[in-house]
Symmetry: C2
Subunit: 331 residues, 2 copies
Amino acid sequence: IKRKTNSAEEYVEGILSGNRTMLSKAVTLVESSLPEHHELAQSIIEKCLPHSGNSIRVGITGVPGAGKSTSIDSFGMHLLKNGHKLAVLAIDPSSERSKGSILGDKTRMERLSVEQDAFIRPSPSAGSLGGVARKTREIIILCEAAGFDYIFVETVGVGQSEIAVHSMVDFFLLIQLSGTGDELQGIKRGIMEMADGIVINKADGDNIAKAKIAKRQLQNALHLFPLPESGWTPEVLTYSGYYNIGIEEIWDMIDRYIKFVKDNGYFYQKRNEQSKYRMYETINEHLRNSFYNDPEIAALLLKLEDDLLHARKSSYAAAKEALERYSQLQK
Amino acid sequence: IKRKTNSAEEYVEGILSGNRTMLSKAVTLVESSLPEHHELAQSIIEKCLPHSGNSIRVGITGVPGAGKSTSIDSFGMHLLKNGHKLAVLAIDPSSERSKGSILGDKTRMERLSVEQDAFIRPSPSAGSLGGVARKTREIIILCEAAGFDYIFVETVGVGQSEIAVHSMVDFFLLIQLSGTGDELQGIKRGIMEMADGIVINKADGDNIAKAKIAKRQLQNALHLFPLPESGWTPEVLTYSGYYNIGIEEIWDMIDRYIKFVKDNGYFYQKRNEQSKYRMYETINEHLRNSFYNDPEIAALLLKLEDDLLHARKSSYAAAKEALERYSQLQK
């Protein structure tokens, strides 16, 4: 059977008219590692770019077990009820597509997964974080062009993936669990200062008192950090994803945040900073890769590391030697 | 008058015999930006390298006003009394040499500045942090070859200079002041997790009670952070630099730390990591500079930033354009 190949124009027309099948197929092209797909994908993205940017992008992180899937299911249903369209994406560079991936099992978002106005995609398959982040960013452009006005980007909260997610969203939401006693122990270094809001899940039944203690601890800990550049004071809320308690308050907080940063201009400034950041990040990654992926340089560096270990060379002399060799290789 | 020029061998001989004048002149060569000095300086450093590494390197940071100079004066006199030789260096990339530099005014270390066994050098003059850090690291090698068995590297605690200092010392000491009520507010982001010890100055007279409160607050805050890789639990002590109270306890802590990390091997592992870090940092800085300092690339990037601001190009398309131009320019 010969499969019909669509042109970039056909893809873009389909996406702009909200055709989910065309969107899905375009996303698959973006995720593909086949060189023949790459050019078509880039052409679709460039054509969608003028129609992108009109969503609220929310990054969601939290340790495994915090109840992210159930929460996203509840958050999403709340948004759909209010007439929005939601795309749920993920960044999970470490896991295999098939198993372990947070969104691999759509059934974990029971209600959302059967809704026409929700588009759920698991993380692009395993690869470098830079590569996965780039693909996710491109998929956001496609989803926005298809009319999704809320984008969630979820991450499992391991490694550096939060920084990647933070660099592509407008609001960064940290989901915490209460009940361990010392709530602060479980928070990953560097996460607190990225969060625009912290929400404590499972604040229901016997757990309500514990959730309140956790809330106070987190509020106190937030005082350790300077006020973010946005001028917004991060808030701490409690909720129950499972029992649908406190969901409206979370979205009220996010709405207030968006209004606040649109009013003071930070929203637009941050998005522009994010584009520039991605350009420079792409450039720097390429410059590093060209150097370190050269097999001769890689072998030389191993030898130089040994020279350093035995104090046979200074760090600067070793660096100079590697750079001179690289310069010769490029000629 | 024609000044006599010494050979690298003469410099090294002088340094190894502990000649302070030769050491000072060699340090001046390292700091010099004249190309004709560069080669001679590198030759001296390479020859001193086998004689380096035998000191305890202590990084010292703290906000302006914390009493760093008075403290270093007291710390230093304590070490000299115990038969050690101390070199005090600094990293202060932002300030001019003449004014504002922390060590610019030697008279702030009244006692130490007249001692034969103390060698005090202000920060290499203003330049990029990478450049200043490199020169300071090279000066450490010279001082160690000259027999200084304690090296202090001070920083004013602004910008990224702590990270640079942290990457070249064995023990990182944070000097804090008590008395503001909320001691944690004044701590710069990222500093707490670098400190191997925190010492609270001006614990004298009416201030002792306040210093104890600050000590407890800091101890509690330290629990927010995971145990450092060294396995050492950072300690919080109080002291008075001015009245010479608690100085011995600080050096007892540092001695215990050094014994602890030498016993578990972390001391040697960290030094090796530091050499490798400096090699890779030098390489990466060079790769970036070659790209970003190219005038044609710099002009192109300004244009591309404007394209991003107006959503005329995606970040990746912009990066690709800049990299392709760079690749052409290199041929």
